[in-house]
């Protein structure tokens, strides 16, 4: 099984995302922003960082990269896509996920190990978790405040598409404590915290993030 990991100019977390894919037991395939080619992968991860220096808006330039056109087409066809942090921002800008990520309400860059509650266990990326489970993963972002209009928020909640919620203090002011959401079909997941930094206790606060990558393996293998 092959999982593509995109690198844009300014991407930081592609190496850790690839390591998480490998640790979960799949092959990580590097994808370059300038190539309109997904190299036959079964799923794509859009990792964190500061693509194109976050110029204009986070994700606003990356969204138009040649590789993203292919990602949007593949995602509309049902390919699983995971957007982490800057990747979540890119997926929102690309229209694969509703809403937007804006400047943290307190203006501070938040960098901490963050507890999340798992609220969706049916998406392509969350089947390995128990509903209501609390997981500990790093959060590191300055523009992580999820916003959408009330109708969109109600629809996300009603359709069970809020995948993760912040537990305890909500440091970025995300509406309804939303840390991550899925698309209508549960194939595309975007979240601000970093599961790829929490795949073993040696280098992260926990191995709680590995479940997302193992969930993907289950999804693709049983498809």
């Amino acid at each position: 099984m092959r999982v593509g990991v995109i690198t844009f100019p300014g991407t930081l977390d592609d190496v850790d995302a690839a390591r998480a894919v490998t640790t979960a037991g799949a092959e990580a395939v590097p994808l370059w922003h300038g190539d309109a080619d997904l190299r036959g992968v079964d799923a794509v991860i859009v990792p964190g960082g500061f693509s194109y220096g976050d110029y204009l808006r986070c994700g606003a330039i990356a969204r138009f990269a040649p590789v993203m056109g292919e990602v949007v087409t593949a995602a509309r066809g049902g390919m699983p896509v995971l957007g982490i942090c800057n990747g979540f921002q890119i997926l929102c800008e690309a229209g694969l996920l509703p809403g937007a990520l804006v400047r943290n309400s307190g203006l501070h860059f938040v960098c901490r190990d963050q507890w999340l509650r798992v609220e969706n266990t049916t998406s392509a990326w969350t089947t390995r978790y128990d509903r209501g489970a609390e997981i500990l993963v790093p959060l590191k972002s300055g523009e992580g405040r999820y916003v959408a209009d009330e109708a969109t928020l109600d629809r996300l909640e009603g359709e069970g598409r809020v995948a993760f919620r912040y537990v305890g203090e909500n440091r970025n002011g995300a509406l309804r404590d939303i840390a991550g959401i899925t698309d209508e079909r549960g194939r595309v997941l975007g979240l601000m915290p970093h599961p790829e930094h929490a795949i073993d206790a040696l280098t992260g606060p926990s191995d709680d993030g590995l479940g997302m990558f193992l969930s993907l393996l289950d999804t693709v293998v049983t498809a």
């Binding site: 808006r57 937007a100 804006v102 203006l107």
Partner: protein, 90 residues
């Protein structure tokens, strides 16, 4: 050539912590009486004369602004060139 100005502002209902931070700094510097600040972006585009209004609107909507969180205005402005002649339409 024409100059086009696109102003992009956070929607009224979107919290603008940067504007609030500026508003909070002003009294500390001794400037009183400013009750609110909102911070946005100002773009100046030099465009060929054959670029129509519809295209400019699409530029603003697809790239310069995020319609989920921002409002924008597009206007053509008069440009005074170095020799004193006036070009462009208001």
């Amino acid at each position: 050539m024409a100059r086009v100005v696109v102003d992009v502002m956070p929607k009224q209902e979107i919290l603008d912590p940067q504007g609030q931070a500026v508003a909070g700094a002003l009294p500390r510097l001794g400037f009183e009486g400013v009750t609110s600040v909102r911070q946005g972006k100002h773009f100046e585009l030099e465009v060929d004369d054959d670029v129509d209004d519809e295209t400019l609107e699409r530029i603003a909507e697809t790239l310069l602004a995020n319609p989920v969180t921002e409002d924008w205005t597009v206007r053509r402005v008069t440009v005074e060139s170095a020799d004193g002649s006036v070009a462009g339409a208001v």
